[in-house]
Amino acid sequence: MLSKEKTLKIKKTAEKYRNVPAPHGEDIDLNEYKINKSDVIIDSLEDLDREYRSQLENIGINVKEENTSGSYLQINNEAVYSHVQSKIEMMPISEALKKYDLDEYYWNLVEIKDKYSARAALELTEGFFIRVPKGVKETIPLQTCLLIGKEHSSQNAHNIIIVEEGGELNIITGCTTSAHVKSGLHIGISEFYIKKNGKLTYTMVHDWGENVHVRPRTGVYIEENGVFINNYVITTPVKSVQSYPTIYCEGDNSKATLQTIVYGKGQSVIDLGSKVVLSGKYSSADIISRSIADDTSEIVARGLLVGKEEEIKGHLECKGLIISDESRLYAVPELDARKANIDLSHEAAVGKIAEDQLIYLMSRGLTEDEAVSLIIKGFLSIDLSGLPPNLAKSVERIMDMTLDSI
């Protein structure tokens, strides 16, 4: 439930921004993308037809639901499956809005300030609502999947995750289109709340059709001693992605780590960045990105650390490989310090594959192509040291799978 005031306020703001373009990324004509429901009815992920199943498997979703604490599947704008095998609470956001008072959580971290967020506020929108009760630590990953199943349609999602005090949750999210769908629009609003001593690890793999536009809008709020680890991976062609999540390290000692892995292929235009606002004492953040620009792709790797409180520590590391002369890689690392006693740093480096690495591997018997592919895989590999073993294994498997297709 939302209060009347809140509902009215959302509606009013959304109306105002209905036609306002975003500051970054290609401007999209929303009228071109219809908002469809889904015609899939299932009792388990295994009931899905083969095309859907293999698409889900490609982005790391276990359709047998083994080694998972729960699964959520949204096709177009309908939650077709939501099932948990643990103490975690999960339901479609439409149900949560009926069941709970969400005034404090809904449209609280993400502002409605462009036509995409406005559409998610005004039109039919589904999404997942996940709540980890106080003190519940679930190390077995929960999987969520958002799939566009119809050509040229608009998928709108609004996701909320609340990790209550001392709770822990690991999520693997896959976003994809079914194999026959080449074009579409995905708008995803995500608002995550990590309360005192809570921990959330969020690993997201994107595998869209080559004419799909993607516009996620994300906000994360971390309380005292809370930890947020975010891994984002995209290695297949897409029309465009533009995303700039904001993480608020509000509590003392809160910590955020964001790793972004991008392989720009085909004509992909990818504009990605993260902003972390450090306003809790001793809070810290690491923004790490690895980008490869190939073919005629354009990649913008942004990052912004804002230091608002004393004794904070933040590091931004942005590394890129440029493979094709037709591609472009633009790195924008920014630091914004507002207190004297803080530690903010950044490093950015863009280059080609080092000749001595190639010679080294070739002198061990690898062909030039094999050597290039191994160096790229290494360059894009994710640091799994902060993840629980179960999740690390899953993420490693997903990474191997994604990188093998390069």
């Binding site: 080092a354 000749e355 001595d356 690495q357 010679i359 080294y360 591997l361 070739m362 002198s363 061990r364 018997g365 690898l366 062909t367 030039e368 094999e370 050597a371 191994l374 160096i375 895989k377 290494g378 360059f379 894009l380 590999s381």
Partner: protein
């Protein structure tokens, strides 16, 4: 095994090797001495097939095949291996994964060799990332063991290695990689070692030595004799022979 005939090599228009002739039979180990900048690394890189080093004259034959224009990885596949002095690091690539890709021997044997080298903990590490001088050398030897080449070049295998590990590295090169403990007729491996100080030669059974000076092999002969002369008189004595060879 390896025959080099009248080899001349240029890098960026600079002539670094002049009319080199060298012959190595099966089972032989040669050592190459020479001051800095004499062309030792150039010779190794040229045999390896590094495209930066342009052959402007002469030929290289390996196992009877003319490999002068062969790409680097084909030479490796044919049985040429190298232990680098300062290899690059490959971030994100685990040593274990690289070993599995290049390996021609059973994994159990590689693991056992890693144990012998006190290097098992490094299998999980990224190749050469943050390795010390001695660790780099052990990583190189382990990779060579997996790759199992017939002809191995060692570029300063003892540089940056502490005394204790020089013995370990030297013994493994001699006994395992170069099969020097086997009967001469059973030896199938050959090696070419570059060394400055020659500490490692205490542990390796070398058949022949050459002195490279300003791109020319100024003399060849018994390893002990040549090493003792260099230790006693420096490379001064080599200059005279170099002058003689040059004309």
């Amino acid at each position: 095994m390896l025959t080099i005939e009248n080899l001349s090599v240029k890098v960026e228009d600079k002539l670094l090797l002049k009319n080199i002739n060298l012959n190595m039979d099966n089972g032989e180990v040669h050592v190459l001495f020479g001051p800095n900048g004499a062309g030792k690394s150039t010779l190794i890189n040229t045999i390896l097939g590094n495209p930066k080093y342009k052959v402007v004259g002469g030929s290289i034959y390996f196992k009877g095949k003319d490999i002068t224009d062969m790409p680097i990885y084909e030479r490796a596949k044919l049985g040429i291996g190298i232990s680098y002095q300062s290899p690059p690091s490959i971030p994100g690539v685990k040593l274990k994964d690289l070993l599995k890709i290049i390996s021609k021997v059973d994994w159990e044997k590689i693991e056992k060799m890693a144990e012998t080298l006190h290097f098992k903990d490094f299998l999980k590490r990224d190749v050469n990332v943050g390795f010390s001088g001695g660790e780099v050398k052990r990583s190189e030897l382990l990779q060579l063991f997996a790759q199992n080449p017939e002809f191995i070049m060692f570029d300063e295998p003892d540089s940056g290695v502490d005394v204790e590990n020089v013995k370990l590295i030297g013994t493994i090169i001699n006994d395992i990689l170069l099969e020097k403990t086997k009967k001469p007729a059973d030896r199938k491996k050959s090696g070419l070692i570059i060394t400055h100080m020659g500490h490692i030669l205490k542990f390796i059974n070398v058949d022949r030595a050459h002195v490279l000076y300003d791109g020319i092999i100024s003399c060849s002969g018994s390893p002990d004799e040549i090493l003792n002369t260099i230790i006693k008189y420096g490379y001064e004595r080599c200059i005279a022979c170099y002058q003689k060879r040059k004309h």
